[in-house]
Amino acid sequence: MAGSTTVVATERRPAATVRPQRRRSVRRLVLERLAAVAFLLPTLALIGVFSYYPAVRAGVTAFTRWDGFNPPVWVGVQNFTQAFGDPDFLRSAVNVAIWTLFGVPLAMVPSFVVAELIFRLRSDRAQFVWRAVFVAPLIIPPVVSILIWQFLYGPNGPINTVLHSVGLGELARSWIADPKFALWALIFLGFPWVSSFNVLIFYSGLKAIPREVIEASALEGAGRFRQLVHIELPLIAGQWKLLLVLSIIGVTQNLTVPLLLTNGGPGNATLTPVLYMYQRAIDYGQYGFGMAVGTLLFVVVLALSIINMRVLRTRS
């Protein structure tokens, strides 16, 4: 865009203030750069000092052996080769892949359903009330939820009790202590999986669909379902993309659920890379190794996010 002005701009500007195009655009560019600096400075300064500086220091320790207190000892890429040679790490990679595959849709679809249902209500007041209802749960500490699910999944917990009472007693088991089911139990934790933030985002997207589009489709005789699939979903593709990236990040970085409920067990059935990193670094005092794993995780998720944002470019 450098060196050119839009047709619209010149059309509207009164003749008396027209200046030579080249000089104005160069000056404007310089001013824009200065403005950019001014606008960006607080953000960049803050993240530079308090986010990137510690992160880089952490990243450097990926090439050392460090107990978290005494001076680190340089070991080159040994931590990385050790990680790839560790069956526990490889298992954790498989686990997180499965978790992402199933957990991400779970993070998004139910919230969308709620947003859609609210959007479709007739009265604005009802919409307001329901939005408030679904946002309020934000205030409950997540640990409470974890505790509840620990009870629900317990060997004598409600889930098993219900299974027994409807005659499906053979299905009853100790959900988070059974190597075959533990990971699934954690993935499906949190029913009905409605996230307040996601509901708000989807709802704002739905609200932003221009009225004319929907009315036009109605005039053409489109039923509810066709409206949903052909109009609404594509037009909120941007929201889906954003929440897809955020959900992937959320699922891959979830530490409290596997840490508190199973600590990666039984065996390594619920071990995720983040938990593996936490155990090695914090519990065993192998910070250098933990950082190496963290760096690998970071690179993979960054790549996924960039792919996601490039491949699915939104058309406004």
Binding site: G68, F69, V143, D283
Partner: protein, 507 residues
């Protein structure tokens, strides 16, 4: 000033030593201490406030926050007042229950130089999972007289010798001031036992299993023991010592010249094959027995992982709710259950005799092997690196003096007995009458070893998980036979990197 430069030089030398993988502790001023005043007390020149995390013995002073519902103690506060009376410029500030004692938090604070001056922690944690250099080595001070004990020529003389050995990092490095003792026992609900038709407490292993069966038939959960937290850690001590037999235990004890079994002793024993299942099948022979016991224990408690969320099921609460027949727990448990006011009448009995229960079992009474100096009086002093305020001129001397001041037999007795859950162990200390019968436990030799789980945090964690998995039926004995030596071998290897041992010295 001269002193400060000496401290810094010592710290940097310690840093270099740590780089070289040396295990010796680092600290400023190695036990020389300040000169004495005319009244025989040390001459302290530093002025300020000493911070102390006294854990269970924290007094209820104004400004000290306590967890709602905990007992309000006075003794330590009185001791602090007495100290300030002697040294008016030095105050003691006790940390409230908002100080978490969580090892992760403490290790992080150490890295930032923010630890308090004196604090509680489990000696096994400090010796295995805390990096070298976090604490001041107290051994040099303990070899010298404690100026606050009349007639004392060596501080170490008033300390329980076994506790000292069990809590040191190695023969020359003692970070822990260990002064009390905790017992363990089975605590049972008298009413539930009576209604299940159990008239006598079990005295042998077979009787214990029979009791469990009776309780199960009566419809109660027989027992509750957390398989991860206490499973291997506690049961290994009882079974290993018993299956090895008294003579072997004495032999292992004798490896290092200090009384009581230290990690060094365990390392040598493992290397010689006494604790290696590949050479001594007795090492794993008790696992199936443990599995049988856990089959009568509450499954949800069995399954609890390493860091269950606060509010998770726990044996004491189950006991207080009347939902379990008995629990195997520390001597702190009955107080908690009773304080609940549910009216549960509790009796206790020690771990039953194992004689005749297995081909390797002996008649050696190892019920006290789980007891030990793992209670509330385990105090450590930070180093100038983990607590930057200790770099102040003369402060370390003042902090050591404070520790020497409260570490007298009279104060040890008063403080421990006021709380009443643990036994004081300084020489001449008398426990409260409720714990009188446990008093002998602290005096008897304890052959407590975990077979190698004491080498590193990783070894302990991995073996505890393996045990839990086996007990829950998730892995077979074959898996265990393969994995156990792998875990212990690695543990020993990592341990030797920090604490090298010359095995040729041990015959």
């Amino acid at each position: 000033m001269m002193r400060r430069r000496q401290f810094m030089a010592a710290t940097m030398a310690a840093g270099a030593a740590a780089l070289a993988g040396c295990s010796k502790s680092s600290s400023g001023g190695a036990g020389n201490g300040p000169s004495l005043r005319s009244d025989g007390n040390p001459d302290l020149t530093w002025k300020g406030t000493i911070t102390m995390g006294a854990q269970a013995y924290t007094p209820a002073l104004p400004g000290v926050k306590l967890a709602p519902g905990t007992a309000k103690l006075q003794e330590f506060g009185k001791v602090a007042d007495a100290f300030t009376a002697l040294y008016p410029d030095i105050k003691i500030k006790f940390l409230g229950s908002d100080y978490t004692y969580e090892t992760t938090t403490m290790k992080t604070q150490a890295t930032g130089g923010q630890l308090p001056d004196v604090w509680w922690q489990q000696h096994s944690e400090v010796n295995t999972s805390f990096p070298a250099g976090v604490c001041t080595n107290l051994a040099p001070y303990m070899e010298k007289p404690n100026p606050f004990i009349k007639g004392n020529t060596r501080w170490r003389d008033v300390l329980n010798a076994q506790s000292y050995t069990q809590s040191y990092a190695d023969a020359d490095t003692q970070y822990c001031n260990n002064g009390d003792f905790v017992g363990t026992a089975f605590f049972y609900n008298k009413k539930i036992f009576a209604s299940a038709g159990i008239s006598d407490v079990p005295k042998t292993w077979d009787e214990l299993i029979a009791v469990c069966q009776k309780l199960k038939a009566a419809g109660t959960t027989p027992c509750a023991i957390p398989a991860y937290t206490y499973g291997f850690g506690w049961l290994a001590r009882i079974f290993l010592a018993n299956f090895l037999g008294e003579d072997t235990c004495k032999k292992i004890d004798a490896y290092s010249k200090d009384p009581g079994i230290s990690t060094t002793d365990v390392a040598v024993a493992y290397k010689k094959g006494l604790l290696d299942p590949r050479q001594n099948p007795a090492v794993l022979a008790w696992w199936p027995m443990a599995k049988e016991l856990f089959s009568y224990c509450d499954p949800q408690i069995n399954q609890l992982p390493a860091n269950p969320p606060v509010g998770s099921p726990n044996p004491e609460a189950m006991m207080a709710a009347g939902k379990v027949g008995m629990i195997y727990d520390g001597t702190w448990a009955p107080t908690a259950v009773a304080a609940n006011g549910g009216g549960i009448e509790i009796g206790s009995f020690p771990w039953p005799s194992l004689a005749g229960s297995n081909q390797y079992a002996t008649s050696f009474d190892t019920a006290n092997a789980v007891s030990g100096p793992n209670a509330a009086w385990q105090y450590f002093i930070s180093s100038p690196r983990s607590d930057t305020s200790l770099r102040e001129n003369g402060k370390l001397d003042a902090v050591v003096a404070w520790m020497q001041f409260f570490s007298t037999p009279e104060r040890n007795t008063a403080i421990c007995n006021e709380y009443g859950s643990f036994l004081p162990t300084y020489s001449g200390a008398e426990p409260t009458k409720d714990l009188k019968e446990l008093a002998s436990l602290a005096a008897e030799p304890i052959y407590a070893m975990n077979g190698g789980a004491e080498f590193t945090t990783e070894a302990n964690d991995q073996i505890s998980k393996l045990f839990q998995a086996y007990v829950l039926g998730q892995v077979s004995m074959d898996d265990v036979t393969t994995k156990y030596p792998q875990i212990m071998d690695k543990g020993l290897q990592d341990y030797l990197q920090v604490h090298p041992i010359d095995f040729s010295k041990y015959s």
